[in-house]
Symmetry: C2
Subunit: 554 residues, 2 copies
């Protein structure tokens, strides 16, 4: 069955392999939720499937569980009430996870790739259900949940499967080695076997439960490891559905379904920390805050640890040939999912004397007004605004926005938006605050949520220097620059290479610094404190397995 699946999905795998080598545009899963693409029934059926979970017990097959937990509340203002098995016996869970690993190893790279690609197909068939689950755990607006949490997450999963499959396929299964000698050559047959590291642990986050978890999950699974999925208590359902699809396909192909398990917990159970230090756990993928990420990097000594934490994303404004496009692009980036993205820009450095543009010289206040106007156009209508902003993911954020407003002069105030469909949803527009280069206390750390700072510097050189300093110290997932000067762009490129962050230049259209395209853009670099890994490159997959050889004369 796994071989049949491999053959069936081979064209998609080949296309992905070609795309990651060329870095040209490729997508395997349509990002449009339109009925013209997915059919008239897909959306209502997906919504109905999601609704059916509300208040129900999720039939997760989790060994070592006792009782249930129900920890999720939609940022749109209602409790999901889905009950999941609560893990209490970690020994039992890990033993069950490992039990199926020999058969899973023995089917080999192609067989495992076939199973994993089939799982992606099953998840794709449930994309509307997943989109609803992502929307009502992360707070993302529906279309974004469909795209980032569905189609793009599937593309990222496919990308990591492709990378891992290439890596496993670099060494042949067998070879004949003939060393010339004086008489007969020395001849040996050698066998090379991909073996897993052990049990892998995936620790999910609240904001991107699928997009940030699937690359690690599938990279570990396809390389032969069992995977324990520990979702954020606020975003369990998208990963419960994921695990269900994995178990279904594994069982169909005759493998132990417990090769992938769901490990849900109460908010204070600290299950991730317990699992992370178990000797059986040899790989950890984590997305979340710096404190726990750094704890994992230093304390989970027995495991290879991949982390995506937080950083401070920077924009350097120097000059532009499209002032309106620049303001529009920045306003969109601040607004998308209320800035609750690890890739959203926060610090905008601008010379105190203003910048040259196609509309003449613009002062800092002109720039603020330009961005403010663009925000008004994007968010002036509540019904449209909520489709861009989504909901505020947790209750700490409104207070953080209020506090940020006190750190400097408010250029654009944050506004509460009333969601037309969900009266209890918490929705906020972005806050823009004026600071100066001396206000590092305010801008040098991530202020997670709809907050951006317009920071006056003496000149662009200081902006670039401050960019370098903050990224070196605090990390960043993204950076961008606006300049009509080749020299300034070159300086910014060099600074970005030095501190190890990806750079977007002069984005004035419909590509945004927050967004990375699977198969072409790397997400994170692993070269600064915000993340020690990239989605996806060779380093992300190569250490998830080992090659063990045997040799004999022939």
């Amino acid at each position: 069955m796994s071989d049949t699946w491999f053959d069936r999905h081979r064209p998609r795998l080949d296309a992905a392999v070609a795309a990651i080598a060329s870095r040209e545009y490729y997508s395997a899963f349509d990002e449009s939720p339109s009925p013209r693409v997915y059919g008239e029934e897909a959306a209502p059926q997906g919504r109905a499937a999601f609704d059916a979970w509300l208040g129900a017990e999720f039939p997760a097959a989790t060994p070592g569980a006792d009782g249930t937990v129900a920890t999720e509340r939609s940022p749109y203002g209602f409790d999901l009430g889905v009950r999941y098995p609560r893990v209490t016996a970690v020994d039992e869970l890990l033993a069950a996870a490992a039990a199926g690993m020999r058969a899973w190893r023995e089917v080999g790279p192609d067989g495992r790739a076939g199973v994993c690609l089939e799982i992606l197909d099953r998840l794709h068939a449930r994309i509307f259900e997943i989109a609803n689950a992502v929307q009502h755990t992360s707070g993302q607006a529906f279309v974004m949940a469909f795209q980032a949490g569905g189609a793009h997450a599937l593309d990222r999963a496919l990308e990591s499967i492709a990378y891992a499959w290439i890596e496993m396929s670099r060494t042949p299964r067998t070879t004949l080695w003939e060393k010339p000698g004086r008489g007969e050559p020395l001849r040996m047959e050698k066998t090379f076997t991909v073996v897993p590291r052990g049990v892998a642990l995936v620790i999910g986050c609240n904001t991107f439960p699928t997009w940030n978890s699937w690359p690690g999950l599938f990279a570990s699974l396809v390389t032969g490891n069992a995977v324990v999925v520990k979702p954020h208590p606020g975003a369990v359902l998208p990963l419960a559905i994921t695990v269900q699809a994995c178990q279904e396909v594994l069982a169909e192909a005759g493998f132990d379904p417990h090769l992938v398990t769901l490990a849900a917990e109460e908010r204070d159970d600290r299950l991730a920390a317990t699992l992370a230090r178990r000797p059986e756990v040899r790989i950890i993928d984590f997305t979340g805050g710096n404190a726990f990420g750094e704890w994992l990097e230093t304390h989970a000594e027995q495991a290879v640890v991949f982390t995506e934490k937080a950083g401070v994303n920077t924009v350097v404004l120097d000059s532009t040939s499209d002032f309106a496009g620049m303001c529009q692009n920045l306003a969109f980036s601040f607004s998308l999912y209320s800035g609750q993205m690890c890739t959203a820009p926060q610090n905008v450095f601008v010379p105190a004397g203003g910048i040259e543009t196609d509309q003449g010289h613009k002062t800092v206040d002109d720039i603020a007004a330009g961005i403010g106007g663009a925000l008004d156009r994007l968010l002036g209508d509540d019904a449209r605004a909520v489709e861009l902003l989504g909901g505020i993911v947790n209750e700490d954020i409104p207070a953080r926005v209020d506090k940020a407003a006190g750190t400097g002069r408010v250029l654009v105030a944050s506004r509460e938006v009333r969601h037309p469909a969900y009266a209890d949803a918490t929705v906020r527009t972005p806050l823009l605050v004026a600071l100066t280069a001396d206000d590092a206390d305010a801008y040098a750390n991530e202020c997670f949520g709809p907050v951006a700072y317009l920071i006056e510097t003496s000149e662009t050189d200081e902006s670039i220097a401050l960019f370098g300093l903050t990224v070196t110290r605090h990390g960043a997932m993204t950076a961008s620059v606006y300049s009509t000067s080749d020299q300034i762009v070159d300086e910014m490129r060099e600074a970005a290479l030095e501190v190890g962050v990806a750079l977007s230049e002069n984005l004035t259209g419909s590509v945004f610094v927050n967004q990375s395209a699977a198969f072409s853009d790397f997400h994170g670099t692993g070269a600064n404190p915000a993340a020690n890994a990239t989605y996806t490159d060779g380093a992300y997959v190569a250490s998830r397995f080992r090659v063990v050889q045997s040799r004999r004369h022939v």
Copy 2:
């Protein structure tokens, strides 16, 4: 210059790239020290070059050094007396190492590969000098020093350069990304740049100063990092020559020669530990004992750490169709460099009732006698014996051999051999001791030196179980099995896959379990406690650099 070198060495690089994909036989550097290969003058000139270093000051360009150290004594019984700069100011050393990294990054993967391949050529031109330096630091006999320390080390270095070059070349330098849309496609130009992690630290060992150091050194250098080489105080000269060759080529190509530096020390300076925790040091390659290796793995948190430590290598004897060949092969493996190899077999498990062979049933004492006879044939003549045994690398070993003789019944005694040319050399033949399965206190740890145990078990199944247990707990670099039963070989293969160690089956000719062939055999697996890395695979190179991208509309 670096581009010219890349073009010139491209055929060799291409051949290496093809070999690591096919794992078929390949070698770029002739392993025969014969005058027919290297010319009549090569050997005497190399010896003269080595002799000229004795008692001299080595002209190493090491920033941050003050005064000199002379720490080397040949296992053949004389002090080398070579003086090297002693590192005292680590700040200065690391600043100098990093100073040239931007230019080194900017020349790109091909240019760096050209420089590294040219360095290999320069080292190859000094192969006899290096062989003498390896002989008189490690104690290896000359031919082994020439092969393992010269030709094979060059092959392993080439292998790691090839792996790293492939890895860096997987992503194009630029691409055009076109996303189809309703009207015009979205078009972006993207640039991808390989950036180094930082300063790399290579910590050398006494027994294989080049073979074990060059893969890490060149993997880090070719990926853009600066490399600080910290040799073992007992084996500085081979790495001093290495650094000299690197600096010479770097300077010729217009790069900062301090991209590779020699960091020598007095025996108690603990320079490796100091360097290993510096924030500038982002990659560490270590070969040596378990205690410091594990300390590095857990304490050098800022760095990616590759370790090759110690393990307990096992042979399972079940049956054989070539008893004489088996005894001969084992005797050779015990004798080669006096068992002072991380790959040398130590524990030979055999059923107490003996084994079936082509010469009929053989008891444990018969097997011991067979191995003893083979040892006599190999080592009976002192002049021939020293060419296989080499010298004992440090003064702890003779006492360890004596102690091991007290742990059980001595089957073959260790004998002192008089070196015909070096009266003060310490040379010992292997000790073979009879133990039982219950004597784990004696056999479960590495007894580094010419010591092997013949361990009686109830049957082969127990032998295989004990093999699994010791490797899981203590690690192993190699394992081997002798059996005429397909089922037993299959069981042993499965056990080797489970515990993650490479297996050699029924070696009765001139391939030995101690030896791995570059481009075909992996050295270590990274899958058991003896080593967390392999020479060389994707995982060994992929995390030594990162890719940083920039993108812009076109």
